[in-house]
Amino acid sequence: MEVKILGTGCPKCKRLEQLARQAAAEAGIQATFTKVTDVDQIMSYPILSTPGLVIDEKVKSSGRIPRKEEILGWMKEAQG
């Protein structure tokens, strides 16, 4: 599974990455994490505000930090 964190490096983005990594580790899900920091690349996704969470090229959340359980739910859903 491919997890992307969209954000220019603000504290929220770091927190989101931390939560996403924790969620994956706790559920034993194999995932690669990429941080997207380039504004142009971020804007190629349909989001307006960072941080954004993208799982397998689908935007799951933007502009807020979701709960760990939410992230876990999306990861399980993406895993099928």
């Binding site: 804007m43 349909p46 989001i47 307006l48």
Partner: protein
């Protein structure tokens, strides 16, 4: 030896400045403002505003929404740029995006409350009114100047702007209480400043303690300096407690509360309450006067507690605390360093220089204010103590407003980032307009301070706006016509 006295004098200047900025009335404004900023970020869904900034939104709605949206969305500079790029490329277009970029930093709740308390409500209000008005103006001008470019933007979907999230009723109540807390603590009316009860804490030697403090940090009351009071020492100790306990209690509060969280929250409540009472040191003890302020703050805090525990999800409150603490961590250390540095620098600047450059409300003086704002980059909120320093050194309030408008809007850094989003030409045209409008804002406000009739100024403003509107619609019509002819001839 002389050099030593000089250096000690500078150091005392820094400490004195720090003391008067951490004084009770500033804390009463800053602490609630940080909590409001946190709540705006954590509790208001961004869609509540962005849905008015979509591609299909009419101009009458998108421009005011972009101006007001800054209040809700732009509390943190890290959200301004992505939103600006988003509104420009996928939403309402260049005009509203520019309005958002211009107004955002000016109506940020932290800067506004701080400016109002430290420099004066008149300047804070002038800053809101003029920046909203001029922000919309600059947005319209930019949109028309680059009409054809704007029409050729990539036609990506409108999806990001959809969504019908409503702001919950309890959220409104929560904001009302937070704003009530801010107002009760800062508004200088009899109801809040009168004392209603008093008692004396029997601690002997308080008067000598105060004398020692005055000797350590001497101050000049005629310059509006306040020195360090016994109350100030208690507040500084409480701030230290908050600093330590919040570090352990709020850094990852979104994972759950711990005993440190409660210590931090208790210390914050205690700080606000101690800042709201009046303390007079006597030989026999410390006299404490219960003011209307303190009662108002107490009522607002109890109200917040009830609303938070009854209507909000635990996670929402945790997120609110986390965002608030994040703002404090990000801004407060810079602010303390900045305020101290400003106090030291004030001792080095000859007031004559400032009076010659910007002592009167002239075109040149306002331009100097703007240029200083562009070439100096100060972190959020530090521009306020700097402005206050200039004011005490004899700067006229007009150029001061020009500086305050330009500093957060324009810095070399923000110009570079903006040009990556909208290109170099547009950025420099934008910079030119901001310079013109900020200078104008300073001139108008300065004229008002100097006693020009507000009606006359209003008349000028209306005439100016009318000329601008007619000119713009004429340019717009011509461009549309030439675009139409170009299309016809292409067929």
């Amino acid at each position: 030896m002389d050099l030593l006295t000089y250096l000690v004098g500078l150091l005392q200047g820094g400490l004195g400045n720090l003391a008067s900025y951490l004084a009770a009335h500033v804390l009463l404004c800053l602490l609630p403002a940080f909590f409001i900023a946190g709540a705006l970020t954590a509790l208001v869904p961004k869609e509540a505003v962005t849905r008015y900034l979509g591609r299909n939104a009419p101009k009458v709605i998108s421009y005011p929404a972009a101006a007001v949206g800054g209040f809700v969305l732009a509390v943190c500079s890290c959200t301004i740029m992505p939103l600006f790029a988003g509104i420009y490329r996928k939403g309402a277009g260049l005009g509203p995006a520019i309005t958002f970029l211009f107004v955002g930093p000016a109506i940020n709740i932290l800067a506004l409350a701080y400016t109002g308390v430290a420099i004066g409500m008149d300047i804070a209000i002038a800053r809101i009114l003029l920046s909203v008005l001029f922000g919309i103006g600059i947005g319209l001008i930019m949109a028309l100047t680059f009409l054809r470019d704007d029409a050729a933007r990539d036609q990506a979907g409108n999806g990001a702007f959809a969504g019908g999230t409503e702001v919950h009723k309890s959220t409104w109540l929560f904001f009302l209480l937070l704003i009530g807390l801010l107002i009760a603590g800062t508004l200088q009316v009899g109801l809040f400043t009168n004392g209603y009860a008093q008692f004396t804490l029997p601690i002997s030697g308080m008067d000598r303690f105060q004398e020692t403090l005055d000797w350590l940090v001497p101050f000049d009351a005629s310059l509006g300096e306040e020195g360090v009071t016994v109350q100030g020492v208690i507040l500084i100790l409480l701030l230290a407690v908050i600093g330590v306990s919040a570090w352990f209690g709020l850094n990852s509060v979104d994972e759950g509360y711990n005993p440190w969280t409660w210590t931090a929250l208790g210390a914050i409540a205690a700080t606000v309450i101690v800042a709201a009472v009046k303390m007079v040191p006597h030989a026999g003890g410390l006299e404490v006067l219960i003011t209307g302020k303190m009662l108002g703050i107490l009522v607002a805090m109890i109200g917040l507690w009830v609303v938070a525990s009854r209507y909000f999800d635990e996670y929402e409150i945790q997120e609110w605390l986390w965002e608030t603490w994040r703002f404090v961590k990000q801004i407060f250390p810079l602010l303390i360093g900045g305020v101290f540095a400003v106090g030291v620098i004030r001792g080095l600047i000859n007031p004559k220089w400032i009076q010659v450059l910007a002592g009167y409300n002239t075109l040149l003086a306002n331009l100097v204010g703007v240029l200083f704002g562009v070439f100096m980059y100060f972190p959020t909120l530090v521009e306020v103590p700097i402005a206050n320093m200039f004011l005490s050194l004899g700067m006229h309030r007009g150029p001061l407003l020009a500086y305050l408008m330009a500093d957060p809007e324009l810095s070399l850094q923000s110009i570079l980032i903006t040009s990556r989003v909208i290109g170099k030409t547009k950025t420099w045209v934008y910079v030119a307009w901001v310079t013109v409008f900020s200078t104008l804002a300073g001139l108008i406000y300065g004229a008002w301070v100097d006693g020009t009739s507000p009606w006359l100024l209003l008349a000028y403003l209306i005439i100016g706006a009318a000329v601008l509107a007619v000119g713009l619609s004429w340019v717009g019509k011509r461009q549309r016509q030439s675009a139409a002819t170009a299309q016809v001839s292409a067929h």
